[in-house]
């Protein structure tokens, strides 16, 4: 799979020269009076990344509607600031693992959009050769460990990645993502205990988009400040405005440093929102159109970033149009590849199989 230049550039951007986080070290309040600004380059990187995810997902949604993508397809639209901001604090060798709403994480880690889209259409050039689909893609080269369809399962897996880092004595961090729905799985708390007990370098990133499938967090969770779910294990946690890439990056930096410095796990609850249904087959009758519209109009992470680029960084309309054009070209190329690349050969069924003996 070809390496995308975008991912490599982004990895370098998490430098130590960033302004210190304005947030409090503990407690559930959002960071007061706005997070520190990004430099022009950083803001442009974040904007590009978020736009790529947005356009990619819009295209995936269209292709699903056209019957080119089957099965499951959970779109990340609305949540882009989370992966864009967090990936800015990651360094070479760090790992990312998440659940099934995973396309954004793959793109942010620098995985090739062509390989991701081709997996969505089940083609040979897909990251899993067409055998995985939307929820099951991996790139060890980019540090992306999936892509998991069982709710909550990414949490102990991410904890094990952190264990390996500790065991091997490197300073890498496991960024372990899960959703508000998964926060009620027992294995999450078993993981928290072990991660704290052994001071494992893991940042738990809870993407709270307010709905676990069709059930709102208030109907599923006895306590809804998920950043405090590690309290009885003495794991620090913070709520973060997950619609603001600056806040994500600032607090993500602090959490990553904490983990990297050997101080153990950290919990970040990203307050975010998915604009689309749980999956493509979800009519989303459990929330009002107004709720979605209001979020899109007032909080959209990409619009916020764009406004800052124009007002603070004097990026011109022409430059923005050029970025948009570039991103559309990347996405169109991915979509084109995903439709023209052949389907897997039947012999592919029996590749990469652990076999005890010949099939009978």
């Amino acid at each position: 799979m070809a390496t995308s230049a975008k991912g490599a550039a982004q990895r370098k951007s998490g430098s130590a020269s960033q302004k210190a986080s304005a947030s409090k070290s503990r407690g559930s309040k959002k960071s007061p009076s706005g997070p520190p600004d990004l430099s022009r380059d950083e803001e442009l990187t974040a904007y590009r990344e978020m736009l790529l995810v947005r356009r990619f997902e819009e295209k995936a949604g269209q292709m699903y509607g056209m019957g080119l993508i089957g099965g499951f397809c959970h779109l990340y639209i609305g949540q882009e600031a989370v992966v864009a901001g967090m990936q800015m604090v990651a360094k070479e060798g760090d790992q990312v693992i998440t659940a099934y709403r995973d396309h954004g994480h793959m793109l942010a880690t620098g995985m090739d959009p062509k390989g991701v889209m081709a997996e969505l259409t089940g083609r040979r050039g897909g990251y899993s050769k067409g055998k995985g689909g939307s929820m099951h893609m991996f790139s060890v080269e980019k540090g992306f460990y999936g892509g998991h369809g069982i709710v909550g399962a990414s949490v102990p897996l991410g904890t094990g990645l952190a264990f390996a880092n500790r065991y091997r004595g490197n300073d890498n961090v496991s960024f372990t993502y899960f959703g508000d729905g998964a926060a009620n799985q027992g294995q999450v708390y078993e993981s928290f205990n072990i991660a704290k007990l052994w001071s494992l370098p893991v940042v738990y990133v809870i993407e709270n988009n307010k709905y676990g499938m069709g059930t709102s967090i208030d109907r599923a969770s006895a306590t809804t400040d998920l950043s405090q779910r590690g309290r009885s294990f003495d794991i620090p946690g913070e709520q973060v405005d997950g619609m603001d890439v600056r806040a994500v990056k600032a607090i993500g930096e602090k959490a990553a440093k904490h983990a990297r410095d050997g101080k153990g796990p950290y919990i970040l609850e990203m307050l975010t929102y998915r604009y689309r249904g749980h999956s493509m087959s979800d009519p989303a009758k459990y929330r009002s159109r107004d709720e979605v519209q209001k979020m899109r109009q007032e909080r959209d992470p990409i619009e916020q970033s764009k406004a800052r680029l124009v007002s603070d960084h004097k990026v011109s309309e022409d430059e923005l149009k050029e970025i948009d054009k570039e991103i559309r070209a990347i996405v169109n190329e991915a979509a084109e590849f995903a439709q023209t690349d052949p389907e897997p050969d039947p012999s592919e069924l029996w590749t990469d199989v652990v076999r005890e003996r010949e099939a009978s």
């Binding site: 055998k131 995985g132 998991h148």
Partner: protein, 324 residues
Amino acid sequence: MAKLRYAEALNRALREEMQRDPLVFLFGEDIGSYGGVFKVTRGLMDEFGAARVRDTPISEQTLTAMAVSAAMAGSRPVLEIMYADFMPLTLDALINQASIYEYIWADQVRMPFVLRTQGGGGAGAGAQHSKSLDSLVAHIPGLKAVAPATPWDAYGLLKSAIRDPGPVIFLEHKLLYNMRDEVPDGEETVPLGRARLVREGTDVSIIASSRMVHESLLAADRLAGEGIAAEVVDLRSLRPLDLDTLLGSVARTHHAVVVNEGWRFCGYAAEVSATLMDHAFDDLDAPVARVTMPDLPIPYSEPLERAVLPGPDEIVAAVRRTVA
């Protein structure tokens, strides 16, 4: 006689049993206001209220253990586990609790709960949402396991499962939910532990359950064109196994092909096959054949998925080899 979709037949059975017995309640993820991912529980929360049709957090392990103890304490839980692929999370409660407490607690308790789930491939749902794990639950002594193939059986078996004094694992199939067929108008149950002779024949017994019954019928049609009269037996209950019906069929045909959508090694078809060897060796003119999923994860790619799921081609080929 009304024609209902498989999902509607299940819905009707749940409604009637809840009307009949106030101890029956439903719980599971998104079964209430969302109506269930496959709409099996649609409308039930409106009719019976949120106390009897309960949306739960995503916590399968705990929910299953709660079903065990809530049943022991005198209620009749019906738990929905959204995908059979999530069943591994429930297994501690099933294997270490549900299946043994009556025995080791010296008959002080009963465990009348039903765990409904759905499995099966063919929807492009990938390796973690497509499995058939019949053998996993049928393996456990003390549990009953059923897998209806038709709306009628879905209806009748679910009613029996809810009324049963012990734990019943109720395995639905995602590709059958829209199948429309006759369902009796009156209160009619289908007993657990009884297979159904779906098609009579003299040359071979094709033994299947759930969606594989329909694939077997397609195969039987094709075989008829070649002059092979295949009998098709729908097991309906995976455990207990209806040995009488199976042995009666094999005594007539002297050949058997067992079809199951799950894995081959230590799979459900292997158990049925071994059981036939145990009890009907003298009746058999050929070794029992198996048609199963190969021992692979289920691939997402449509052509690859089609290739791994057993269908009429594989069944016809197995029958030809067996009767040759």
